[in-house]
Symmetry: C2
Subunit: 370 residues, 2 copies
């Protein structure tokens, strides 16, 4: 029988040289057997279930890099199982940051990843030679008719992907089905004029009972994809809808609620959470707050997310990074330089505030990446 | 028309006296319209959609208490919508802690909360005059037969609630159905001897596609409840299974992955996350790491969780706090004094390491609360 491959998790652990070995071993126990060392009497459990400390390296900042390997088998080969083994119980401790994650090809293949990925979205949009442009339908509080009008102008101006704001649900002032219909009508009308069809992504954030139905219905109406917030509706829900053929729509992931993990000393690194895990969970595009916007992300964090979404990953499709969160139009040329061709720029406030002529603002946005 | 009631969220915000007003207003925008102030041109949106700063108070520790009210309507009256409005985008900022949450009676009634609660679990166990006792089936790696034997001894010894370890899924070394059958057989055999029936809680952590089926099947077999990790499988999934009549089983919530939120300066407070939100989401019992155990929870944090699960909350049933995470048997008398009658003590390592006679260990555990 072939040797089972291992999950390789790198943690950054705050510890002194006196207690780092104990803390490292403690992670191995806590994430697997959840009992003290003395109670692991069975040799097989000790060797095959408890995590193994592979390496401990001191870092310059008085923390340690601890590499732990886990049996793939203990996850049950599911995403919830993986999340739990990587960070379930140690999340409740302190000074432990999951910094890096490596998975075997066999393990990775159980998940599938993005159905469309960068390549698929290029085909769907017909745009191959520049970054894609995205814009949100804002602000919350507008009626379906008003959002439809906005959607029309954005589509006329050449925006490729038009998405609901992630707080749009099924509110009385903007019912889900009325909104989706109004926006898809707008997309249709604009495409008859331009000859190109923008993809519209309705936000699916509702009670568990009706999310699937809403996706199926959206697809029937002609939605171009869907927007979900996986930390709110469940990472494995996103994996499920991205892989099930009945849905078959591109998935754009919003980072709502993920921020609590993106702490400097305790949590999950930007690259692992917004990069590797989102991609593994089937996101075709991952929105994250860009540096220099309204959120305190660093340039380096953004680069690690980009890399994790696009690096070779056992044949899994790449996902589009979608920098957002207060990008100004004036920074687009510089960002294009930094992020390269394979990126989606999502711009809201700066696009809407440029002038009252939304169509012309969108055309200007487009001119910046051509 | 009656005035709409408001969601009252209290944030603890790190700021200077120069920028606190701006930061407070920024929360109101970020959690609702997600655009800059100038772009909120519609008066109705400004008044009815954007959050309102109700109060700002300086605290002793150079942070500020900021009370923000939100329209209930913008949540779509769903749990995902509520989570998003409370902390979705600001999670991606820094120095913002959601410290307290007040909801109206009408809003609360949309969720339902615990189906059984403390009162229901008292009836199901037939125990009214002492804390309930719980024990986990550990460690991960044992076979269904071994876990069944452990379950038998625990039930014979008088444990009220026997739960899977939360890492137990459907692993090849311990398949879900074999394990549930082995444990329920053990419960049956023990109950024929003792005349009392312990409740067995299998862990439901699997692919999205089969969790519901696994719960229905477990119920048919005679499971006493189910264990879920809502931050991993979805808070709204927990609400759904707790309220849907087809399931109808008590729900025990495990805090895996919640720890990243329980930061001192940025996240969601213990009382709100493990207390109010878990209760609102239908948990009948909430496991949390007790102070003095393997996790760095303070005594005060534990008290706030207890209070939030049991305080009067618009007629919603109370949920059982379940302190765990390294409780020693010797501390039970003191903890009983502190937490009172309405608590479930979940003890693992200390129970198993007392002697090799698990049944006698369980009897001793029981003697400590009688």
């Amino acid at each position: 029988m072939a040797q089972e491959e291992r999950i390789i998790a790198t943690y950054r652990v705050k510890a002194s040289c006196r207690d780092i070995e104990e803390k490292a071993h403690d992670i191995c126990l806590e994430q697997t057997v959840e009992v003290t060392d003395e109670l692991v009497r069975d040799q097989w459990i000790r060797e095959r279930i408890v995590g193994t400390v592979e390496k401990i390296c001191q870092r310059a900042d008085e923390s340690y890099e601890v590499i732990v390997s886990y049996s793939e088998n203990i996850t049950g080969y599911t995403l919830p199982g993986l999340l739990n083994v990587l960070y379930g119980n140690v999340s409740l401790k302190s000074g432990i940051m999951l910094d890096n994650l490596e998975l075997s090809r066999t393990f990775t293949s159980r998940f599938g990843g993005p159905r469309f990925g960068i390549e698929g979205l290029r085909k769907l949009t017909g745009v191959f030679d520049r970054p894609l442009l995205a814009a949100p339908l804002k602000p919350l509080g507008k009626s379906p008719e008003d959002l439809g009008r906005l959607c029309y102008e954005l589509a006329l101006g050449g925006i490729d992907l038009i998405k609901d704001d992630h707080g749009l649900a099924d509110q009385s002032f903007c019912p889900f089905k009325e909104r989706v219909n109004a926006c898809l009508d707008a997309i249709d009308r604009a495409s008859r004029k331009t000859g190109r069809r923008a993809l519209y992504f309705p936000c699916i954030m509702d009670r568990y009972e009706i999310m699937e139905e809403n996706i199926l219905w959206s697809r029937e109406q002609g939605a171009g994809g869907i927007l979900v917030s996986p930390m709110i509706v469940g990472m494995d829900f996103m994996r499920y809808i991205s892989r099930d053929d009945r849905f078959g729509l591109p998935v754009m992931a919003h980072p709502a609620l993920t921020g609590a993990f993106l702490n400097v000393t305790h949590g999950i690194s930007h690259g692992v959470l917004l990069g590797t895990l989102m991609r593994l969970s089937g996101a075709d595009m991952v929105i994250y707050p860009n540096f220099c916007g309204r959120f305190p992300f660093t340039r380096n964090s953004c680069i690690t997310v980009n890399e994790a979404l696009k690096r070779p990953f056992h044949g899994m499709k790449s996902a589009f990074p979608v920098p957002a969160g207060g990008i100004s139009l004036s920074s687009i040329p510089e960002l294009r330089e930094l992020f390269g061709l394979e990126v989606v720029f999502l711009v809201g406030s700066s696009l809407f505030s440029r002038s009252s002529d939304i169509r012309s603002n969108a055309e200007h946005f487009l001119s910046l990446v051509k």
